[in-house]
Subunit: 342 residues, 2 copies
């Protein structure tokens, strides 16, 4: 049994309302001595505001929800994204509530998924990495849930990274250094728009320079098994040490970039001079002890953009807001990218 305002009132011999005022933000209306007595009693008894009553009064929960698919591995919400969300929300004393509904529930059941039905949030950030169920759109609309999409290039109410420009800029950076044999390295073609856009950005930059795009690595359906890891590694080793390897590569995956750095060292190919490496990654952390040129996917910035957008959407309750495209940022471009020799 939690402590209520009434209990404190009884304890200090005042009315419920008086205590409520003092515990709220109208303490200044009362005698200092009265205030002190009430505050002391509240602390002594361990009074904590009842969040439910509060929410009911204000019609606001002061919390936003992050909706994810169960099917997508949780890891798809990057730590940077969560950290940035939290940072934004902390400033306004809001909470972040996590929720997952599995696609089957969303699609099959005619009723609203229980988890969403009684979700104590003012609005939602939708984090489906592509392939969200159509019915989700219906639900958001029908129940007038303010929501901002991430990872989806909707014209309205969405925040997404500009992967096209990111990959294009990465490629142009290498082109400007004088590279002409620039390849795009990838072993997994995702269903996500970013997968297509990165390839487009790269190949458009190549075409614009009058060059043929070249792709290294084919789609391997299996990404996670030990065999898949080994196969990728073998493939990377093979092309890194081959004579006609490109002078520069744009790599679409951090793990593959690590393999390239690794095998370059193993077979004696010097990064930068023998092979320029530009990594597309959510982190710009050193790889195997060395800094790698990175085009950073703006995971954190997307969260920074999404929160204010959602808050605005909540207060204006429902009007469509123009989407925000968040640019990628280049880090340490000359760490592993140098003009080609010879």
């Amino acid at each position: 049994m939690p402590v209520t305002v009434s209990m404190i009132a009884k304890h200090v011999g005042l009315s419920r309302q008086t205590v409520g005022f003092i515990l709220g933000d109208r303490g200044h209306l009362f005698r200092e001595e009265t205030r002190k007595r009430v505050l002391a009693a509240a602390e002594e008894l361990g009074y904590r505001r009842n969040a439910a009553a509060m929410a009911m009064m204000r019609g606001r929960y002061n919390a936003i929800g992050l909706l994810q698919s169960v099917n997508a591995a949780f890891g798809l919400v990057h730590a940077n994204f969560l950290a940035a969300l939290m940072e934004q929300l902390r400033a306004t004393n809001m909470h972040l509530s996590l929720g997952q509904v599995d696609d089957e529930t969303l699609v099959d059941e005619s009723a609203m998924p229980e988890l969403m039905n009684s979700w104590a949030v003012d609005g939602l950030i939708i984090s489906y990495v592509a392939n969200y169920p159509e019915r989700l759109v219906d639900i958001l609309h029908r129940y007038r849930l303010p929501a901002i999409w991430t990872n989806v290039k909707h014209p309205f109410d969405a925040v997404y990274s500009d992967d096209y420009a990111g990959a294009r800029d990465a490629t142009e950076l290498l082109l400007k250094m004088g590279h002409r044999r620039i390849a795009f390295v990838r072993y997994y073609d995702g269903v996500h728009y970013s997968s297509r856009d990165r390839w487009s950005g790269y190949s458009d930059a190549m075409h614009a320079a009058g060059l043929q795009p070249r792709r290294i690595g084919t789609h391997m359906g299996d990404w996670t098994s030990a065999e898949a890891h080994a196969r990728r590694a073998e493939h990377v080793r093979a092309w890194v040490q081959t004579a006609d390897r490109p002078s520069a590569v744009v790599i679409d995956d951090e793990e593959v970039a690590t393999l390239v750095v690794h095998f370059a060292a193993v077979v004696g190919v010097a990064l930068g001079s023998d092979l320029s490496v530009m990594n597309i990654s959510r982190d710009a952390l050193p790889v195997l002890g060395r800094v790698v040129s990175t085009m950073r996917i703006p995971t954190g910035d997307m969260a920074f953009a999404a929160v204010p957008l959602l808050l605005e959407k909540i207060t204006t309750s429902g009007s469509e807001l123009p989407s925000v495209s968040v640019p990628c940022l280049s880090f340490n471009p000359d760490a592993t990218c140098r003009p080609p020799v010879g």
Copy 2:
């Protein structure tokens, strides 16, 4: 303005209570035709249960909070941990609410931090990686917040990994294979108990076998800078290729393990035969394309243990529950660990 029961009642020409019953779990008390009418109206109007009113009635939020320090990087809550928490909560349609208070607020302010004061949760999972402020204990106690600690070896109300046994078992596994020159590799001594316990587990196993523990790597205060990465890498390269390197190593960090695998390949030291490697890590994922013997820190299992414990604590409101020590698990012990040659 969200849709309420009253609005539906008006719409179908029934009383508020009747509609409430039908929308709740007592629909069977009414005529099928009435039910259908109400349900159809609810769907048409987009009725969603008011979570605040619900929580107020039940005295339960059906949500638990995960409290983290701002100071500790968010990354310290591992994705596995979050995923496991979510999985547990999904089964009971509960939500997970994330909250961070910075240590200063917790320590300095006499008042309850606002974020915790109006947190709509039934209980808390505390995820401070050591060095939690003493005042946090006061607050939990004073406000009777049901809480389970993680990462802290409290005798009550805590869930923690058995890092001592993990490191000991890892070492014994190598001892049983016949290794005698087994070193413990670490470049950062954390303040967390696991840091001490792993060393103890390793060195106790060595002593029990009549051997001297040997530590490779000294504490480098700086872990994250590019220079620190480079320094670690250089150090690993040096001892991996030195003649008197140990025949086996227990490595306390995944990143360092990656460096060892990397430089072993670079300098031509064969993992398993020339150097046995046992990694202590939260993941047992392949490293640089190859499977590495791993003693896995049971991040996910800790979450699986913490949730039922917290739920019990919530329902029994307050009694002290015995803590749970979660064992580490060994994966692929013979991937990179082999009996020493010669």
